[in-house]
Amino acid sequence: MFDLEIAQLLHQRCGLVAGEAAVRSIWAFIALVLLPDVSYWRYPRPPGDRVLGTDITRHVWGRLWWRAHLLALPQRFEPYRLLDTFGEAAFDQIFARRRSIGGSRVLIRTLADIWPSIDRSGAPERDVLVDVLKRLSRWGAVVDFEALDQNELRRQVQDAADEAVAVLRAQSQIAGPRHADA
């Protein structure tokens, strides 16, 4: 909850644009000069990339700003309502694919918007998400998601989720008897 509130606060109040928020030294300054006490309270004995800004996807504050930026809706009413859709580990999976699909704000928002309604049929959430992201990355090589309207985009994400769940269910059925034999 702390992270989600801070993500919103950083995004609303820092006055950064995305080009500036991509500069790693800005986050090192915020973590080590401006807020060293809070940074080390949040991550006692942190690995270097949590505070130095060597990897924004891991940075104590940088990753929160980016989470808010990628998920913020272009509307006045509840623009940050999608922030809590994914847990930290799940969002890391998305953010780590910044260069393929993580840079498409409309795609990430659409995924977050329909994620709670996806029927995973008992498959672990993380496995489904990883599989969906792989499919979207693969399609993204020949498909321009940005060119689509919201409904078309929702259908694409739903298709990816349906395929991912079907494949995972089939895999678990194959793996089941083997485990039983063992």
């Binding site: 006055g15 644009v17 995305a18 080009g19 500036e20 928020a21 991509a22 500069v23 910044r98 260069r99 993580g102 840079g103 498409s104 704000r105 409309v106 399609w139 090589a141 020949v142 498909v143 321009d144 998601f145 940005e146 060119a147 689509l148 078309e152 259908r155 694409q156």
Partner: protein, 297 residues
């Protein structure tokens, strides 16, 4: 390495596009490979003309006349790794369809290198398509990329806008240059040029700084001169600033000394202090000269 598409794509000559142009208040100019005057507050107004054989493109992609296609432009910024759609229009099933691509691209999400990707996209297929034709909405049937560098490597001067009504500065003032006094601290955190949002003339000139009109140029020249004057005033009134001291790179002390040295290479700090004290009008004229106030570009 070329990309292999899992569906039929037409030859590249089904689309012909002209060069990209940048629209300015004075007209259009060719879009150069580098825009050193760009910053995050710049909104790029871009244009290119194109002609698309919508019927031939459908036929050679294995798509029926009823397939829905778009011509669209997507942007990608290298430093933020963000992408988005800049422009889109439906592509009718006719050959020689002329289109003018026109859009404005705000600078908020941009930076580093900017790629402009013009594409023909399948929005929806229709009955009668070839089994080898694209089926997935969004499939890229044709595309063209243009890449340019947006910003120079120079550090940008710290500027912010504010309503002076809410600040302890004169409500009608055009700008206020805030400078701290710790000579060892980072200059970028010690200097801030505040522009008054209520001052329409200055706001207009600064927003158009990448493509200023003649009137905007005069305002920007006055702003540059005044910023230099205030920086020099600060340098000359801070008794601790000494031109024999090595201040840390990027510190306020180093920046103030540099401004004085670049503006008046033949004068020591002490000589400048004396002249400012004894002949302020002459000193003021020297600042106008050094900053090239109202000199034609």
């Amino acid at each position: 390495m070329s990309r292999v598409f899992p569906f039929l794509r037409p030859p590249s000559d089904v689309v012909s596009v002209g060069p990209w142009s940048r629209l300015t208040p004075d007209g259009a100019e060719p879009l150069t490979d580098t825009l050193p005057d760009w910053d995050y507050s710049t909104t790029l107004a871009l244009h290119r003309a194109g002609s698309v054989d919508g019927l031939r493109l459908r036929r050679l992609s294995g798509l029926p006349i009823g397939a829905t296609l778009d011509v669209s432009v997507q942007w990608f910024a290298s430093n933020s790794a963000l992408r988005g759609r800049a422009w889109r229009i439906g592509l009718p099933a006719e050959d020689g369809f002329e289109t003018n691509i026109d859009f404005r691209l705000p600078g908020d999400d941009l930076g580093g290198h900017l790629e402009l990707i013009t594409s023909v996209i399948l929005r929806a297929s229709a009955p009668g398509a070839s089994p080898a034709a694209a089926t997935r909405p969004g499939s890229v049937l044709w595309s063209d990329r243009h890449r340019l560098k947006l910003e120079a490597d120079n550090t940008l001067f710290p500027i912010a806008t504010a309503d002076f009504h809410d600040l302890p500065y004169p409500t009608g003032a055009a700008w206020y240059l805030h400078i701290d006094e710790d000579l060892e601290s980072a200059a970028l955190g010690s200097i801030l040029l505040l522009l008054n949002e209520r001052h329409a003339v200055v706001m207009r000139a600064v927003e158009a700084a990448s493509a200023p009109t003649e009137a905007d140029r005069r305002v920007l020249s006055a702003l540059r001169t005044d910023v230099m004057r205030v920086l020099l005033d600060k340098a000359l009134t801070l008794d601790d600033l000494n031109d024999h001291v090595e201040y840390p790179i990027g510190s306020l002390g180093a920046v103030l000394l540099n401004v004085a040295r670049i503006a008046f290479p033949a004068f020591s700090l002490e000589a400048l202090r004396r002249e400012r004290q004894t002949a302020p009008a002459l000193f003021s004229s020297r600042v106008q000269d050094a900053s090239q106030l109202l000199v034609e570009p």
